[in-house]
């Protein structure tokens, strides 16, 4: 009878896996879950934009310019009579794709550089990381501006500019994690059993970088979207008439006296997007790194 009791006890304590604990801890975080729900809605909006938007994003209607928000035009209309709600809905496609693609660019380049630097260390490490440090000396947004200045405005160039300017942060994270993991014994075991360097990097090191990287990616997408909107706001990003939120804000600025609703909605859209990503990122960090949580 005593034995039975003991067995059940040990089972209860040991049954939860690492992933389950992280998931549970994330689910308990109400703010993070709220962020995830907002993000999910945003994704649905972007995917089903043509079905959600009542008008086309560039459908002009010169009889109905400067309409205050109403049942017909939820967010009102702009100076060309375009429906702001529809434009905001379509804008989610632009912002999310810029955010995700730009971050994908920087994660792939930055991650590879970081892994190489951390894995081989010595001169290669020195070379790569000094270069990263110098990129960091130019403020990120300024670097993006300079790149756009060279490449010219436009969606594609915007992705590249934002992507390149955030390479250093991913390189740093991956490098730091790689260096920690490289010292672990199971890597030595893999080396001893003849696995080649690429195999070790892809099979052992990169999977272990995932936790810190995912957190940084989530926060990084928020930053990338802010940056892209900022560049468009000052006229260096996506150009009108494309329904980019930052560009829409810039347009609304001219009509701030009298037609303030034109600045409300695109701004709110940017705000909720970055907010949701920041909340998710914070939640992930707390869940993955219990030591930081209280």
């Amino acid at each position: 009878m005593n034995k039975n009791k003991k067995d059940t006890k040990t089972k209860v304590t040991k049954s939860r896996g690492q992933f389950a604990i992280v998931l549970l801890s994330f689910k308990r975080n109400k703010l993070a879950m709220a962020g995830l729900i907002i993000l999910f809605i945003l994704f649905l909006t972007a995917i089903f934009a043509p079905f959600i938007a009542p008008y086309g994003f560039d459908t002009t209607d010169y009889d109905n310019t400067f309409q205050q928000p109403s049942a017909e035009h939820l967010f009102g209309t702009d100076e060309f009579g375009r429906d702001i709600f529809s434009r905001v809905v379509y804008g989610s496609r632009l912002s999310l794709s810029v955010g995700f693609i730009a971050v994908a660019i920087s994660v792939v380049i930055g991650g590879t550089l970081g892994a190489i630097a951390g894995f081989y260390q010595k001169q290669i490490d020195n070379l790569i990381m000094r270069f990263m440090d110098i990129l960091l000396a130019i403020p990120q947004f300024l670097l993006a501006i300079s790149i756009v200045a060279v490449l010219g405005p436009g969606l594609f160039n915007l992705m590249i500019a934002v992507g390149i300017s955030s390479i250093p942060r991913y390189a740093r994270i991956v490098r730091a994690t790689t260096m920690t993991i490289k010292g672990e014994e199971y890597i030595e075991a893999a080396v001893a059993s003849g696995t080649n360097d690429t195999g070790i990097i892809f099979k052992h090191i990169l999977p272990n970088c995932m936790a810190p990287l995912i957190v940084q990616i989530s926060l990084g997408i928020a930053d990338a979207i802010l940056m892209a909107a900022g560049l468009s706001f000052i006229g260096l990003g996506i150009q009108p008439p494309a329904p980019e939120w930052g560009a829409m804000l810039s347009g609304g600025r001219n009509y701030i006296r009298g037609w303030a609703y034109m600045t409300y909605f695109p701004g709110l859209a940017i705000f909720f997007t970055t907010l949701s990503l920041n909340l998710v990122g914070d939640g992930l960090r707390d869940a993955l790194d219990p030591k930081l949580k209280n």
Binding site: I145, G152, G246, R253, I256, G267, I270
Partner: protein
């Protein structure tokens, strides 16, 4: 300490040198013909060729870079604007005070309030004030600065009429942009202070200080805060670069003649020497601030000072 300082200053020069190279490279590879920009589309090919020769644009890349550095070091010459034909440095120096005032006031606001709110919210963790600070900090880092800058104009200038919506000559004109710029960094600093305080507050030496019979106020200030300051200084240093970029938006929104606005206008007019001069100048500011950060770091953290 002095060794550390020498190393850091050496590092500053290396960084400046490489930034100058990157800036020049960008200048070199930007599309468009400077001679055409200067002389206009109606000019003759001979005139343009003469202009290129005069600008030294026909020399190889490295020769051009060497001349660029020589002018920069010997004559503090960042080049000449294509549009106004005036020295870039002069154009920059005319507008830079506004940018620096804006950034400086904003960082003071951000540090004072950010650190204070961070401390309060860490000490009263889970209290109402902690919740409020956390929510506001989250809003502060998520909301785009160019959006709430506009909202502030809308509320304080258009609706209430308390502050003018543009210009940067009187304190009342400066108030809104400085506040708007400060809010973003304040949020970051408050978050960092809070989490760093919370990490330290659980450590044994804090319990030890309490076990000595030390008053809680002093435990927090002399033990917890002094340790929490180390990561906070890093964030403050990093904030400066962000602030300069944030200032750029506010200069646009509040029509302030500053470095950021000068650069944006120059990009639109393809006046690349001014753009790259501006990039170089800002990077220089950031690098100098980083040096100051490193020095503060050494003053706070004995591990650096001694090694």
């Amino acid at each position: 300490m002095s060794k550390y300082l020498v190393k850091r200053i050496g590092y500053l020069f290396v960084t400046i040198a490489i930034v100058s190279f990157i800036v020049f490279m960008m200048l070199f590879f930007t599309p468009g013909d400077p001679a055409t920009l200067i002389l206009g589309n109606m000019s003759t090919e001979e005139a343009r060729e003469a202009m290129r020769e005069q600008l030294g644009l026909n020399s190889p890349f490295l020769v051009q870079y060497f001349n660029f550095v020589k002018d920069l070091v010997l004559h503090q010459d960042l080049g000449t604007s294509y549009i106004t034909q005036r020295p870039v440095l002069q154009e920059i120096l005319e507008v830079v005070p506004n940018t620096l005032i804006l950034s400086f006031v904003a960082i003071v606001i951000a540090v004072v309030f950010g650190v204070a709110l961070g401390i309060i919210s860490a000490v009263r963790q889970y209290s109402l004030i902690d919740a409020i600070v956390t929510v506001f900090a989250m809003i502060g880092i998520s909301a785009p600065i160019f959006w709430y800058g506009l909202l502030m104009i809308l509320l304080f200038s258009v609706q209430l009429g308390w502050f003018p919506p543009s210009g940067f000559d009187t304190p009342s004109q400066m108030f809104l942009p400085c506040l708007a710029l400060g809010i973003q960094s304040m949020s970051m600093i408050a978050r960092m202070t809070r989490s760093s305080m919370l990490e330290i507050i659980r450590m044994d030496f804090v319990k030890m200080a309490r076990a000595k019979g030390q008053k809680e106020v002093w435990v927090i200030l002399s033990h917890v805060f002094r340790n929490a300051l180390i990561p906070v200084i890093t964030v403050i240093g990093l904030q400066f670069g962000m602030l300069l970029c944030g200032a750029l938006f506010l200069e646009v929104i509040f029509s302030i003649p500053g470095l950021g606005r000068l650069m944006i206008e120059s990009i639109k007019m393809r006046d690349y020497p001014v753009v790259m001069g501006g990039v170089f100048f800002m990077s220089l500011c950031v690098t100098i601030v980083n040096l100051i950060t490193d020095i503060c770091y050494a003053l706070v953290d004995p591990k650096i000072a001694k090694s």
